[in-house]
């Protein structure tokens, strides 16, 4: 009815109350994101990006405003209903990976399936998780623990976990914040492939070059959106990786 917006924010505010001081982290954000979009939210540190992401991800509630996710008003749901939405509609990738440290990559990827209403046998769960790990190119490391994996590999596990319940929406808060540039581009390659398959992606980043891999850039300052543009010269991760590889070979061949 109201267009095919996956996310529709209407005048969202978030005020943190820390003792006497009120921190107005988000001050009236209205935003619409449609199915199949790939959006980067950018802005200086402290501009409210993470706060907004947490609200979009149903991890946190707005102080004021309306948030429609797939047409349902999320602001009115209770804790359990929010948990179900996080489980079924949203995959969230954190800046700090947030993996369970003492369980394998495979078990980490299986985690969201423990809490679904879908009836899956242990074997089906395993198959789903393995497929998700394959999708991010990590099937071979399925039985490694997070501390045996590199940062990029850990982030891939986190992405696999976010994907395992086939969410319509993938959210990522600085997914490349802890990674070197080549690994970052590899992760962007994963995102671009997922986006091509029809998954809507919203991502926070403060790196301009990373934002060039997305389709739309939203810039925030002091809790408000100050700019909202489509990306014109979009980079393709595959091509960039190829170029990097050639450059590296050239360096090695030079002497």
């Amino acid at each position: 009815m109201e267009t095919n917006a996956v996310i529709r924010l209407e005048d969202i505010h978030k005020v943190y109350q820390t003792g006497e001081v009120e921190v107005h982290a988000v001050r009236g954000v209205s935003l619409e994101i449609r199915r199949g979009e790939f959006v980067a939210i950018m802005g200086a540190s402290g501009s409210g990006k993470s706060t907004l992401m947490n609200i979009i991800g149903c991890l946190d509630r707005s102080t004021r405003g309306r948030y429609l996710l797939d047409g349902t008003d999320v602001s009115e749901l209770d804790r359990d209903e929010l948990a179900d939405i996080r489980n079924q509609k949203i995959g969230f990738v954190f800046q700090g990976f947030n993996l369970l440290s003492r369980t394998t990559a495979l078990e980490n990827a299986e985690l969201p399936m423990l809490y679904t209403h879908r009836r899956l046998s242990g074997r089906e769960q395993r198959e789903h998780a393995l497929k998700a790990l394959e999708l991010v190119g990590l099937a071979k490391r399925a039985h490694h623990h997070p501390n045996q994996l590199s940062g990029g590999q850990q982030q891939r596990v986190a992405i696999a976990r976010a994907l395992v319940n086939d969410p319509a929406l993938l959210l990522a808060d600085e997914p490349t914040g802890n990674l070197d540039s080549q690994t970052s581009i590899e992760i962007m390659g994963v995102f671009q492939r997922l986006n091509d398959q029809g998954i809507t992606i919203v991502m926070v980043t403060h790196e301009l070059d990373i934002a060039h891999y997305t389709k739309r850039n939203v810039i925030m300052r002091d809790g408000r959106i100050v700019q909202d543009v489509q990306v014109e010269k979009r980079l393709k991760a595959d091509e960039e990786l190829e170029r990097l590889r050639r450059e590296q070979q050239a360096v090695q061949l030079a002497p």
């Binding site: 991890l59 359990d80 179900d84 954190f94 993996l99 369970l100 809490y115």
Partner: protein, 406 residues
């Protein structure tokens, strides 16, 4: 159901990861349950032993004591009132149909001597029925007879301990025993009965005809008590009632006044004896139960630490869709598993300790199945009760704050 299963798996794995801590946490419950099981086993064993000894008093025995147990609110000593007479005993024998044996009883204690040896012991004046009522045969010689009683003969049947003390290495039959300086002839030695439930040596005794005791030793005409044997267990209550009626009539007690005697059945004696040991057992079990609660507090403490330590984990689980209920279940199952395993180990330890006490100390023990079930239930309840608060705390965490927790 599937979510419960998943929660169970997660909880078990968490426990397994921290084996030392899990064991130490369980230790409280283990000790509590083991203490309960051991005390109850000891109590049960003591009770069984007391019952066996009460049974050894004889079968279908009714005791009539002079004086009422409580007269005007004052507790008077058993047999001290001097209200029973030989005629009362004869009347019971004569007039109550279900009575198969009667022994009028007097008691005294004093020095007995033979040759150079002497010994302080208890002297019972009884009838010839006494030995059959108490099912106490002689090992040597013969018991004295009704004729001896009637003729006030100076004959004695002595206990095994007295025989050992006065006639070491000799056959006492036919020898003289001087009871408070009055010479009696030993006609029999009783079979050994050992110690009774109060730790008294039952073989440290001399039994003589009650007539001889009253005339030659005590110079008294009243009896301490009358031991009556009924024909069968089914008529004990009736016989008890008939004795009461007969004695009230004989003692001319008007309906508005209390009895001046007391009629007790063996059943009542047994109940009184086990009452004390049961009180003791319950007290000890109560103390043990307190230690179970202490164990529960230990579990609560560790679970609280565990919730704090794993705040991030809880945040992650919630972020991917765990409801408060799922988290709560996970921690509750962890607590219950701790206490249930602790309970099971406690039962093993308790049963083991009881067996060891029997083996090394010779104390009788018996572990009642009911108490094992009670312990299992108690420890599970302790787990739920003390696990509930930490689990609820975990379930109420805010996902974002939990994720941000360092």
């Amino acid at each position: 159901m599937r979510r419960v299963l998943a929660a169970f798996k997660i909880a078990l794995r968490a426990l397994f990861r921290n084996k030392t801590r899990a064991f130490l946490t369980m230790l409280g419950i283990i000790c509590g349950v083991a203490a309960v099981i051991t005390t109850v086993s000891l109590g049960q064993g003591a009770k069984a032993q007391i019952e066996a000894q009460i049974a050894s008093l004889g079968q279908n025995v009714i005791q009539v004591g002079s004086g009422s147990v409580t007269r005007g609110g004052i507790h008077t000593g058993w047999g001290s009132a001097g209200t029973l007479t030989i005629e009362d005993a004869e009347a019971i024998q004569r007039e109550i149909p279900g009575v198969v044996g009667v022994s009028p009883e007097v008691r005294t204690s004093g020095q007995v001597a033979a040759g150079n040896a002497n010994w302080f012991t208890q002297v019972l004046g009884e009838s010839a029925d006494y030995f059959s009522i108490r099912q106490w045969p002689v090992a040597l010689g013969e018991p004295f007879t009704e004729q001896d009683v009637r003729s006030v003969n100076k004959v004695a049947v002595i206990g095994a301990t007295v025989a050992d003390q006065l006639y070491p290495g000799e056959d006492p039959i036919g020898k003289v025993i001087r009871i408070r300086n009055a010479p009696f002839i030993v006609v029999g030695v009783l079979a050994s009965k050992g110690f009774n439930m109060f730790g008294q040596d039952q073989d440290d005794v001399v039994v003589i005809p009650y007539t001889s005791a009253m005339k030659r030793l005590l110079g008294q005409t009243s009896l301490r008590s009358i031991i009556v044997q009924a024909a069968g267990p089914e008529i004990i209550a009736l016989t008890q009632q008939q004795i009461t009626e007969l004695l009230r009539q004989r003692h001319r007690i008007t309906p508005d006044r209390d009895d001046d005697f007391t009629v007790r059945t063996q059943q009542e004696i047994a109940e009184r004896a086990t009452e004390a040991s049961e009180t003791m057992r319950n007290l000890l079990a109560g103390v043990a139960a307190v230690s179970l609660i202490v164990g529960g507090i230990g579990i609560m403490n560790i679970m609280l630490v565990s919730v704090t330590e794993r705040t991030r984990e809880i945040g992650i689980r919630m972020a991917v869709g765990a409801r408060g209920r799922d988290v709560m279940l996970q921690f509750l199952i962890e607590a219950v598993t701790l206490s249930a395993i602790g309970g099971a180990l406690g039962i093993l330890a308790g049963v083991g300790a009881s067996k060891w006490l029997t083996y090394s100390q010779g104390w009788p023990t018996a572990t009642p199945l009911g108490w094992i079930l009670i312990s299992v239930c108690c420890s599970a309840v302790v787990g739920i009760l003390f696990g509930f608060y930490p689990a609820r705390k975990a379930s109420q965490l805010d996902p974002i704050e939990a994720l941000r927790y360092e």
